[in-house]
Symmetry: C2
Subunit: 234 residues, 2 copies
DNA sequence: TGTATTTTTTTTGTCGACACAAATTTTCGC
DNA sequence: GCGAAAATTTGTGTCGACAAAAAAAATACA
């Protein structure tokens, strides 16, 4: 609760209140500016964003629907915890959505989709070149979100976006571990995926997405394992 | 707005307001008691359920998050339309979720899961025996929801539940067409699925789910096609 | 000093009211 | 009569206030 905390006093368009609160909270949750388990005080938030509790509460309901916060009845809503015990279900779903969206993108994409995807890939490559771990996390998400959009299936897209957000939160936990040579590999893999999508080679796109997912899952697993050893060592 | 409309005046526990409104609206939407496109008047609803607009609005936000209603800025929220043009994306996602949840149920189910699944299947068989189309729709949903619960992956489960709801709405449109011999086939297919889950035969469960999904998709397609011909004939 | 009970405080859930935006109707000029 | 502008109506978005529920603090009692 530091930089994004103090916003403009009270000059916002009518009807944008809920959206505003939603965006602020969502960013802070995904960036771990609000740690998992942190209780969210409605009154405090209302004062911070200088608005009434009503739009705040509606934004919280929306976030609860996406699983980013948990509402305890008659008690404060808290930032959703990261369930390390069931990470395998997350990896499973993430891998499947990587595959399905990339497959369908190869099948259904239109000309301007590739423009967008390439733009996102350029941003990702820039983040990697600059060794900016936080930017890498964010731009990687946007790259795959662009592919999902090109897949033209809103059901897969919404689940995938949710999973990518969850992943962003997870990666953010370990972003200091990004100073190795792995990211460069991701850039190449992204390029291959783009090529297979453009060629409408569904099976190759599928295989590449599968590999890519395995890579990412493996890296996250390593980070967690490393982290756990440190914890035990204390 | 008939039977469920007039509820108790004002004796509900604190904190259950939103949930209550959510349940009422959700049922009415999925049963097509509220037709797609129908505007939902907050004040009217508030009077009907004899409560303030605040819990009503929060329930609407939640429904909007699940795609059951659409909120027009500064204008009334309306019951979500059924997108006939993009049904194939729905069928695609539905089929995949049938497969994935049945696969994982075969892999991850525990003893009492099968008890629940069999209970749901019994209810479905009863509905089929009694030729009760509406009950068939509802119990079929619960049967597959029970399998999804046994699959132990909340990400797949939530998407699947959403798709099943959408399907319930779709089937409800054509429930008068259920007076044929097809449902009996579904009962048998369900039994086969249960058997393969119990045997932990993942590949067979997958294959059966795939067939089952194809059956259902085909039936819905036929219903729509029949319906369209009728419309043209007018 | 430790524990059970009462009181206070804090925070949520709900309400009624008002302000603003869009749609609708009415009025006015031609 | 007909179209445009003004006035009215309708219904959402936001607010401040109050009541109920937990939690926290204070008190009583052993």
């Amino acid at each position: 609760m530091s930089e994004a905390a103090t916003r403009k006093p009270a000059e916002r368009k009518r009807g944008s209140g809920v959206q505003f609160v939603y965006n602020v909270l969502r960013d802070e949750i995904l960036d771990l500016a609000l740690a998992p388990g942190t209780p969210i005080d409605e009154i405090q938030l209302a004062q911070r964003l200088s608005m009434s509790r009503t739009p705040i509460r509606e934004a919280l309901v929306r976030l609860a629907g996406e699983g980013l916060v948990t509402t305890l009845p008659n008690r404060s809503t808290v930032v959703a915890n990261i369930d390390f015990l069931n990470l395998h279900t997350f990896f499973d779903a993430l891998t499947l959505m990587y595959r399905v969206t990339t497959r369908l993108a190869a099948l259904n994409h239109q000309a301007d989709d590739l423009v967008t995807i390439r733009a996102r890939q350029a941003e990702f490559a820039k983040a990697v070149a600059e060794q900016d771990a936080l930017a890498m996390i964010a731009t990687n998400r946007e790259f795959h979100a662009a592919i999902a959009a090109a897949a033209r299936n809103p059901y897969y897209e919404s689940l995938f976006l949710r999973l990518l957000d969850e992943g962003r939160r997870l990666l953010r936990l370990y972003y200091s571990s990004f100073n190795d040579q792995l990211p460069q590999r991701y850039v190449v893999e992204h390029e291959d995926m783009i090529a297979s999508i453009e060629a409408r080679d569904v099976e190759k796109a599928d295989a590449l997405a599968n590999e890519h997912a395995d890579q990412i899952v493996e890296q996250i697993r390593n980070m967690i394992a490393r982290d756990h050893r440190q914890k035990i060592a204390l």
